[in-house]
């Protein structure tokens, strides 16, 4: 059993927000208002919550509520970046000459938590023209297609923005989590001592 303390409160909050999310998706996809069927829906939400509890999958890593506030400004920027990168790659594919210059390089991620690094690596992969091949600690191995995609990454704009997102700039500070380092075991010890 979990001790009711800081972790317990966190756990309840994450469980609650996951339940709200699941119910919303269920209702969106079914659109029913019959009592019996809504009962079945509640039953399935509880079943999924139980399975997530058994998998130990309800925490800030699988369900990062604390990033929600920063996402409002980050994702529109990322979408615009994706549009620009698409244009760049589309031109390179149509020309298919000197503009296609595949390169491999290392990029440092300045985020402290693993969620932040994963967000950064995912954003890089989502942007056409750059793909994250491997992550080793804070070192990302990147494959880039054109000169423009390489330069876009080297400005470090995305890195800066993901770090700001991770630090919860503009978001409620109560949702920020203790920093994760390379060993997840360390943080569990740290968080236990806080309770």
């Amino acid at each position: 059993m979990r001790v009711i303390g800081l972790i317990g409160v966190w756990y309840m909050l994450h469980t609650f927000s996951l339940a709200v999310l699941l119910s919303g998706v269920w209702w969106l996809l079914s659109g029913y208002t019959l009592v019996l069927i809504i009962g079945l829906g509640i039953g399935s939400v509880i079943l999924v919550l139980y399975i997530c509890h058994r998998m130990d999958a309800i925490d800030h890593e699988t369900h990062p509520v604390h990033l929600a506030a920063g996402c409002i400004t980050y994702y529109p920027w990322l979408l615009w970046e994706i549009v620009l990168a698409n244009w760049d790659v589309a031109k390179a594919i149509l020309k298919n000459d000197d503009t296609v210059r595949p390169r491999l390089m290392h990029v440092k991620a300045s985020q402290v938590s693993e969620v932040g690094r994963v967000t950064y690596a995912n954003s890089i992969t989502l942007t056409p023209g750059t793909v994250t091949l491997d992550i080793e600690g804070a070192d990302l191995l990147i494959h880039s297609l054109t000169q423009g995609s390489k330069e876009g990454l080297e400005t470090g704009e995305m890195d800066r923005r993901v770090t700001a997102l991770e630090l919860g700039k503009g978001g409620p500070s109560a949702f920020s989590q203790p920093a994760l380092h390379d060993h997840p075991e360390d943080t569990s010890v740290k968080r236990d001592s806080e309770t």
């Binding site: 998706v25 790659v89 594919i93 296609v100 595949p102 491999l104 056409p128 091949l133």
Partner: protein
């Protein structure tokens, strides 16, 4: 108003179709598997994104739009995962990326795991 919405959704769908075609062309033309990944990611981002946005404009504020949005969100979060998994699997199995001469990491010096 009807006409404006129709024109806007036309624009979105045609642009999305164009990006799909260019992505497919990239799958054929680019030189190796790592480069072709960028062509595939054209389809996964703006190809599907623009076409489904055009359909959303057609549907207006209904349940259909919500479902289209959910599809977009799923693709948005799953496609980088598959791309990264595939790239990493290829790198770990010893497929060497064909890179340019002025690449920061040279052709032979690819840090392969095996």
């Amino acid at each position: 108003m009807e006409l404006v919405l129709d024109v806007v959704s036309w624009g979105f769908i045609l642009a999305g179709s164009g990006f799909c075609l260019i992505g497919g062309l990239g799958l054929i033309r680019l030189r190796d598997m790592y480069a072709r990944k960028h062509g595939a990611s054209l389809i996964d981002t703006l190809g599907i994104g623009l076409i489904l946005t055009g359909l959303m404009v057609q549907a207006g504020f209904t349940l259909v739009t919500a479902k289209l949005f959910l599809i977009l969100v799923f693709v948005f979060f799953t496609s980088p995962t598959t791309t990264h998994a595939l790239a990493r699997a290829a790198l770990n199995s010893g497929l060497v990326p064909d890179v340019d001469k002025d690449s920061p990491i040279k052709q032979g010096a690819v840090p392969s795991k095996k």
